[in-house]
Symmetry: C2
Subunit: 392 residues, 2 copies
């Protein structure tokens, strides 16, 4: 099945409104950090994978592979741009992983970058709606928040769940963001903060929604062969193994799903990732899930086998999602509080898993973390990419 | 180096202004044809790679992987969208090829699709400019035609070449398109037609430029193992081997290039492709090059080792680029006359190479074609992806 693949370096930019940085400088910032962290000669990098969703629509800039390869001084290396809406970051990771697995290269650079605030056409909501179906949903005025509001309302009705139950997820994310220097919102909130906040689309309040923001994160991926060349033993505490990677899809439109309350692609993607890594949900020490909206956290936990159908909030109520719980989630703040610069998010999730597995997560360290899972969604779970990482 | 990869099926839609088809139906048309041509059970398809440049900007539709997987009835398979401007099609091919080479899957579907005429925001020229540098070129009013006009003017001055020399390329492409039922312009033209046509941007006339149009093309890629399973001998006349695949990059801006008249990425990409396939330029029986503008044909032939610097037009003058010449190019009409639906073009090129290698190119058949090369450009050669295909 080809080579094993390792993450040898990570870098991230604090999520924020980066009006001071152009898109390319934003990407470059994370790239420089990742290269430095890897201690690998940048001449060893053979391919660049850029994850981004919105630069074409908001900044009229496509062709991001070559653009960033040039700006990072990496020409004439192979470069490409991967897009699968909000899962573009994890998708770029997966393509780079497969490239190394093919045996053709030994070192790839992955960067996820998104500039949503300082752009030519400031209409992030319209842009984000491109993750769902332009002809069958957006044409009817459906925005992304509206889709999640419908889901949340149905979920609450069907499973007898209250808004205060769902609110526990953003409360957890905010608590974890306090000690993450790269997080956008480093303040604690309470269930009351969520409930009393203005509604974006009822029942979703401002605090149920991840923010529109700018950010970038990067990883250096290497083959087993390169790992040996640079001295495996020396890098053992620093490198993390990609135990598995998997991708599955579902309909873009909610209306076309047999059961909108089941994230089918998340389930299949996670199951394939478990199988390929030869682990089970109970082996996962932490789970960076895609909490774009509170409702997604509950449904993700269920889809991935951590909770029964309709019981995702129970884990939160029991404190199991906290750093010392049975399945800590969003350990560095998640999409809600670290921030959700869409095409970058999947790479941030991986970077945070690596921090945890290296034991470098500071006050947010999950004790004895050996195996971490990251799951990135495009749209309302229409593309779902799961990675399982393991300490070596 | 992993598995060998074969092209087991091809499909294409006639390039045209498809006001009757939505983007997804356009893509589906080529997919159905490719699946049918492959005679492979569609349940065997494990991943979908969509090449597209402009759907986000012109139709506000991103997330094309899952969208097309759904529309083609392929859920919940893995799906993604690859973008590298006008080389998105070949880029999607390359990613699918690497996926199979990794050993993780045995069958992938690649579709390149682009709808440039019947869109929400009809501004293809602005969209296409996203292939170059939005901050440093487009902001100064540089369109894609303007870039090529500058290049052509400099090339003509430096190499003492006349417009009538460059005009031989579109004349060749139009001659070849006459017998291609999928081509947009099936009429012959003369050098005079090119010279007397209205200028788009002097010295580039309408007939030096590939058209804005809609189209889609698809391929089924399979592993050696699946090839054996379905009976290799039985498929020998139908399947074509991907002998090599390579990608290289250059600056997006012309101003940043040491020598704008050398297509450096095309040179590196071709050299890597030759090396990996263990062939030389003289072994290539036909060459589907990226004739987005006449000037690109001349420069491509030089970059890929078929002509000396500044001598690309000589090959045309000597008749060497014709179907019975030493290096037939654009054998089914090229970008100029078959048409250039940008994100689809790279897949059309591959499909046409397969037709030639199968001996199914009808009146355009290159005699005894054994080895074909396709080269797809993003921007003015800022991303260049080369594939070499071989009859088995």
């Amino acid at each position: 099945m080809g080579n094993n693949v390792y993450i040898a370096g990570i870098g991230q930019t604090a999520v924020s409104e980066h009006w001071d940085l152009s898109f390319r400088d934003l990407a470059l910032d994370a790239i420089i950090r990742a290269i430095k962290d890897s201690e690998i000669d940048r001449k060893k990098i053979e391919a660049l994978y850029v994850g981004n969703m919105l630069a074409g629509e908001l900044a009229q800039q496509e062709h991001l592979g070559a653009l960033i390869a040039d700006h990072a001084g990496l020409l004439p290396i192979e470069a490409t741009h991967i897009e699968s809406a909000c899962s573009s970051g994890a998708d770029a990771m997966r393509r780079a992983y497969l490239h190394i697995k093919s045996g053709e290269i030994d070192c790839a650079l992955v960067v996820g970058a998104e500039q949503m605030t300082d752009v030519l056409t400031p209409r992030a909501t319209v842009g984000l709606a491109g993750a769902t179906d332009a002809d069958y949903e957006v044409a009817h005025g459906f925005s992304f928040v509206a889709i999640n509001a419908l889901l949340a309302r149905r979920y609450m009705y069907e499973h007898n769940v209250k808004h205060e139950d769902l609110a526990l997820f953003p409360v957890n994310s905010h608590a974890n963001a306090v000690h993450n220097p790269y997080a956008m919102y480093r303040n604690e909130i309470s269930v009351d903060t969520v409930l009393k906040a203005p509604r974006v689309c009822d029942p979703i309040s401002v605090f149920d929604s991840s923010p529109i923001c700018d950010g970038s994160a990067a990883c250096i991926l290497i083959s087993e062969e390169l790992m040996r060349d640079i001295g495996m033993e020396k890098r053992k505490d620093h490198c993390v193994s990609i135990a598995s990677s998997a991708c599955a899809t579902d309909t873009l439109t909610l209306s076309a799903r047999e059961d909108p309350l089941t994230l089918k692609a998340a389930k299949i993607s996670a199951e394939n990732a478990y199988k390929r890594a030869e682990v089970e949900p109970r082996d996962i020490d932490l789970f960076e899930l895609h909490d774009a909206f509170s409702i997604m956290s509950a449904m993700s936990l269920e889809a991935c086998g951590f909770a029964e159908r309709g019981k995702g909030c129970t884990l939160a109520k029991e404190g199991q999602i906290a750093l010392d719980g049975s399945i800590p989630i969003c350990t560095m703040g998640g999409l809600k509080a670290r921030g959700h610069p869409v095409g970058a998010t999947g790479v941030y999730q991986i970077v945070e898993c690596v921090e945890q597995l290296r034991g470098e997560a500071g006050k947010n360290q999950v004790k004895d973390a050996e195996i971490a899972m990251a799951q990135n969604f495009g749209g309302s779970g229409a593309t779902v990419i799961t990675h399982i990482l393991r300490r070596i």
